[in-house]
């Protein structure tokens, strides 16, 4: 079985979705649990991807293909994980602030989080503070990501966090912010939990934040 898990991990790194899916099915048939496949196969493969990406040994399109392979396999595993009573994975709601249509960075971050086994709900660009609040109520994420490219739209982050507080939702979710004009100081000033300057470090930071919950 160990070899099978290693093959799954290897195919994740290779970004071959078809093979990851068929190997996942094979592992289930041979009696592996969904949790074992997830942790020893898929996540272990994505860990390698993460390390190689951080070392600039893998490129974004390859990382995204690996992430998509992971997502495809997770579709098979998710109902089994839920049935086994395993606490659902991390869930990220992410969006770009109202008035800002620059969302290429945010989309990239969302896809990298999918690859890190987060369930990602991407609200898209031009998202009003109220829409973030509604998404928190609806999807109950444990992580919220907000992105801005402009100094003017960056201000909406402050407004959104205040609204989340006034709705009594602040303790339910960790909040991370990012984008070209954002600094760690600004993140701290508006009461966000974390800031990251790029997608790879965002995942690392998110895991730290969520581990402390």
């Amino acid at each position: 079985m160990k070899e099978l898990f290693e093959s799954i991990a290897g195919q994740i790194v290779a970004g071959d979705s078809d093979k990851v899916v068929s190997l996942t099915r094979e592992a289930l048939e041979k009696g592996a649990t969904a949790e074992e496949i997830l942790n020893q196969g898929l996540v272990s493969g994505m860990d390698v991807v993460g390390e190689r990406f951080a070392a600039m040994d893998m490129f974004i399109p390859e990382v995204l293909v690996a992430a998509m392979a992971m997502t495809d396999a997770l579709e098979i595993l998710r109902p089994l994980l839920t049935a086994a009573g395993i606490k659902s994975d991390n869930r990220l709601v992410i969006g770009t602030m109202e008035g800002d249509l620059h969302d290429i960075g945010q989309r990239l971050v969302g896809m990298i989080f999918e690859g890190a086994a987060f369930e990602v709900i991407n609200l898209g660009a031009d998202i009003k503070p109220q829409a973030f609040v509604e998404a928190i109520k609806k999807h109950k994420p444990n992580l919220l990501g907000m992105s801005a490219m402009l100094t003017t739209t960056m201000l909406k982050m402050d407004e959104t966090i205040k609204l989340i507080e006034s709705e009594g939702l602040r303790d339910t979710v960790k909040i991370m912010v990012g984008g070209a004009p954002i600094s760690p100081d600004y993140a701290e000033k508006i009461g966000a939990d974390g800031y990251a300057p790029n997608a790879a470090t965002a995942v690392k930071k998110a895991r730290e934040l969520l581990a402390s919950v």
Partner: protein
Amino acid sequence: MIRVNRTYRKTPEFKILSDDQIQAVHSATLRILEKTGMLIMGENKEVIKILEEGGADVKGNRVRIPPVMVERALRSAPSRVKLTGRKGNGEVLLERNVVSYGLGTDVPKHIDTYTREIRSTVLKDCENIGRIVQTCENIDFNSYAGLASDIRPEMQDLYHYKAANMYCDKPYFTTAASAANLRALVEIGTIFAGSADEFHRNPSFIVYGEPISPLVFDKEATEVLLGCAEYGIPVVFPSMVGLGATGPVTLAGGLAQGSAETLASLVLHQLKNPGAPFLWGPYVSQMDLRTGIFTYAGPTFMKSQAALGQISRFYDIPTFGFAGCTDASILDAQCGMEMFWATLNAALSGLNLCHDVGYMNSGLLYSLESLLFGDEIISAVKAFMEGIVVDEEALAVDLIDQIGPSGHFLAEAHTRKYYKTEGWYPEFSNRQPCQIWEMEGSLTIEEKLMKKAHEIIEADIEPLLNGDEIREIDRIIKNREKQLS
């Protein structure tokens, strides 16, 4: 005797595309506009109405633009745009085969000239940048090259204007956060010009805005674009095509898409006010697919800039270019290579408004030293672009004969007459033998640049804005602040 059949080449000539390749990119551009078109975001009824009445095919908020509209816009757009310094000092002529260099707009971080720390940009930096620009003889236009973190974002452009122009009166390149801020900037420009007509005839600033790649117009930016058309203020409206991210990974496709987005902006602009001044030229460069940054350097970007220079001449419309910029985070060998390459490339490619001199770390970082370094690089490029004078005087056959074998040329009148124009004398680059260089303290170029920067910003000089002008600007800023609160 007569010497015949002599062709002179004054400057190096550089082309990356053939005429047929330019035509192919243009054809793809028209197909993109007709087949895919632009998405108009944010309840932007005015934009949709203008484009629909201009002949576009409108379905909901998707607007497809037929070639005839593009051709009409290209015909009505002027082939020459002129900027004049605030008090008539300095002129930037934006037309075929005239290359001007200057600064870029938004940069969130600044390398502190005293501590060398990377910190958030503050308003004082914009003022210091202006002081330096005023002394740089090769920098043709100024900008604020920062984002003052000590100013509320909705007001930054107006405060930047005051700070950047305090000690500098060269033509100015700016953004406008909204149509209302644009009105305030026009009010300020009008005060300096003396009248609205005079400001219209000789605008002292040019405005920057963007469509969003791929193929989106947002509300705020198009309001600024239409405002510029209405007031007749020159505007640059380039899209940001990151190859492989916000556009196809292939350079040809990226050029076609970027061109389409910028031409769609031109179509809208010319429909609002035919003949209003507009600069064409998208940013088309590689997204580094390891780090996710949009590169401001390297061969892909240089090829794209060269192609855009040629395409703009095909359109006969002035173009927006990049120069003196780098992805490096410090003034190091990478910085030198990239700043120089971009600056030379802009001249060889015949780009017109070449901005971003001194931009570091892909536009995230600025320093007074990279600005001064940029001035020296432009000086070298200018000397290079002068080409080689080949005439009897320069061939100097008689002089060589007169000096003869084993003589020297050091004290000749010919030498004294031409040494400055035939040679090039840098202010900062090292040309000392290493023994002397060591005796003088083994200074790096960065240390020399720092010393110069400190001299300039510490100089006890009078502001170029007088008390009345400062009061007028403050009044306009206060009014705008009141509207916002």
